[in-house]
């Protein structure tokens, strides 16, 4: 049954593309702005050139660095804050406060302070990506059933044993959720910073195509990045589902 729905969905999307193609060709939509999909696909060839690929590599590097940091800090700190009631009472409000401050408005200052190189973009993206990781890891750690900890304690588990064999497996699904949302935010941060600084990376090319009036290339870039984001997100979602198979109820993601 779900097989046919996926088929319907594909048909829907293709139909949408067809309408777009027709609208552009028939001049219902100005083809100078709304390049027809066929042109967009053609423009992808333009993107396969070394400078664009180099920019893509740079963007990917920034994402990788920022995400690695966000994951390390988010999981490490998150576990500690979630495990120890005192740390939770003390630091979670601080985390929430920092989370509620829109980091986006600090972007110009970040760039000013760190310059327009890789550092500023990675740090900015880190500041966006670390919070979903932190919040989900904290929540996941807190959700660990205390009676399971008690049972393990009675069976002679050491503190380390309880951590490794009870807390971690129980919190794992939430950790993955946090990483998934954190990844989305990290990519967002990198692209936003690149758009603002407009000097390197894919953000530069987005700005360039926009200013030099090349909508086909712009759409092409947009779709490629969108496609990549969707693939990565769905992959992480699949892992999340698999890891959370044993859960009895659905758990809301935090900081989404």
């Amino acid at each position: 049954m779900s097989r046919s729905i996926a088929w319907d969905r594909a048909v829907l999307i293709l139909a949408g593309l067809a309408v777009w193609e027709a609208a552009a060709r028939l001049r219902w939509l100005d083809p100078d702005f709304f390049s027809p999909p066929t042109k967009v696909v053609g423009a992808m060839a333009d993107l396969a050139t070394p400078p664009v690929l180099a920019a893509a590599r740079l963007t990917a590097t920034e994402v990788a660095v920022a995400f690695a940091l966000a994951a390390a800090v988010g999981v490490g700190l998150g576990l500690m804050i979630g495990l120890f009631p005192f740390a939770y009472r003390t630091f979670r409000p601080i985390v929430l406060l920092l989370f509620s401050v829109p980091k986006m408005v600090m972007l110009p200052l970040f760039i000013l302070f760190f310059g327009i190189g890789l550092t500023s973009k990675a740090v900015f993206a880190f500041s966006l990506g670390v919070f979903p990781v932190l919040l989900n890891v904290i929540a996941g750690t807190r959700m660990v059933d205390r009676t399971l900890v008690t049972a393990a304690y009675c069976m002679g588990a050491s503190q380390l044993g309880i951590f490794a064999k009870v807390v971690l497996p129980a919190a794992l699904p939430s950790v993955i959720t946090g990483l998934r949302v954190g990844m989305t935010q990290t990519v967002l941060g990198v692209l936003l910073a690149e758009l603002y600084a407009a000097n390197t990376g894919l953000g530069y090319y987005v700005s360039l195509y926009s200013q030099s009036f090349k909508p086909a290339q712009l759409f092409a870039l947009f779709f490629l990045v969108a496609a990549l984001s969707i693939v990565v997100n769905e992959a992480l979602r699949a892992i999340e589902r698999r890891a959370g198979r044993w859960r009895e109820e659905e758990v809301e993601a935090e900081g989404a």
């Binding site: 969905r9 829907l12 509620s100 200052l109 989305t184 990519v187 870039l221 969707i230």
Partner: protein, 255 residues
């Protein structure tokens, strides 16, 4: 496994207070000792004075007004389309099955990339910001409305149908009230995202508005004014988000 100790709560607050004081202290020292250039970090006194001066100027309110207008329009678009899509997808099972994964997938893409597209199509005026903000805010509304309606307790529906409720009544009297808290959460997220994306758009390319003023003051290296605009933005976001959170909580209690 540790029991709650009254001392613990006090110590926690003490540490939080100390952290706040530490931040202020470090800021102050950084400006006085010039660890950081005053072009980047203004001293607190100057910041306060600049903020006050800024709030006294009428043009400030012009820019706040522009941002508020763009935000309002964006939210209006997002709500109308988002609620429509969400209600149809949430009530008609087939439509929901069809588009829920599509919406969730689209939500994951960095929509920020679409901004130069908006500028390309709609120019550097308010229209591009409204379109961008609407695009961003659409998703939380549609997704939460969809989810809220689809997950209404079957028991309610059965009870209403057994009492003879037709589809229109079912929608208005049962489904929407039952899903309302979730929908409201979606609206709150949409409002905050919408406002932030409008400001971000202004930062990236605009003639007026809070974000643009922020960018200009950073470029002009007038750090105190930049921070003042940041504070104004934060105030706006807190106002919007806080009000909706408060409404959410009142609703929780009333149920």
């Amino acid at each position: 496994m540790s029991t709650w100790r009254p001392g613990g709560a006090l110590a926690a607050s003490a540490i939080q207070g100390a952290a706040l004081l530490a931040v202020v202290a470090v800021w102050h020292l950084a400006t006085v000792e010039r660890w950081v250039s005053p072009l980047i970090l203004p001293d607190l006194g100057r910041l306060a004075a600049t903020l006050v001066a800024l709030l006294a100027r009428p043009e400030t309110y012009h820019h706040v007004g522009v941002t508020a207008y763009e935000f309002g329009a964006a939210l209006l678009f997002a709500l109308s389309v988002g609620l429509a899509v969400g209600i149809v997808a949430g009530t008609v099972r087939y439509v929901g099955d069809l588009i829920e994964p599509v919406l969730l997938a689209l939500y994951a893409i960095p929509i920020v990339m679409a901004f130069p597209l908006c500028i390309l199509f709609l120019g550097i005026g308010s229209a591009s910001k409204i379109a961008f903000g609407a695009l961003y805010a659409f998703f939380p509304v549609a997704i939460h409305t969809l989810k809220g309606l689809r997950h209404v307790d079957r028991g309610f529906i059965r009870a209403a149908v057994s009492m003879g409720a037709g589809p229109r009544l079912l929608l208005l009297r049962v489904l929407i009230p039952a899903a309302f808290p979730v929908i409201l959460t979606g609206v709150r997220l949409a409002a905050v995202l919408g406002l932030l994306s409008v400001v971000a758009g202004e930062m990236l390319g605009a003639l007026e508005g809070v974000g643009q003023m922020l960018t200009r003051s950073v470029e002009a290296l007038v750090s105190a004014e930049a921070f003042a605009w940041i504070l104004i933005t934060i105030m706006m976001v807190t106002l919007v988000g806080g009000t909706l959170s408060w409404v959410e909580r009142r609703l929780e209690r009333a149920r």
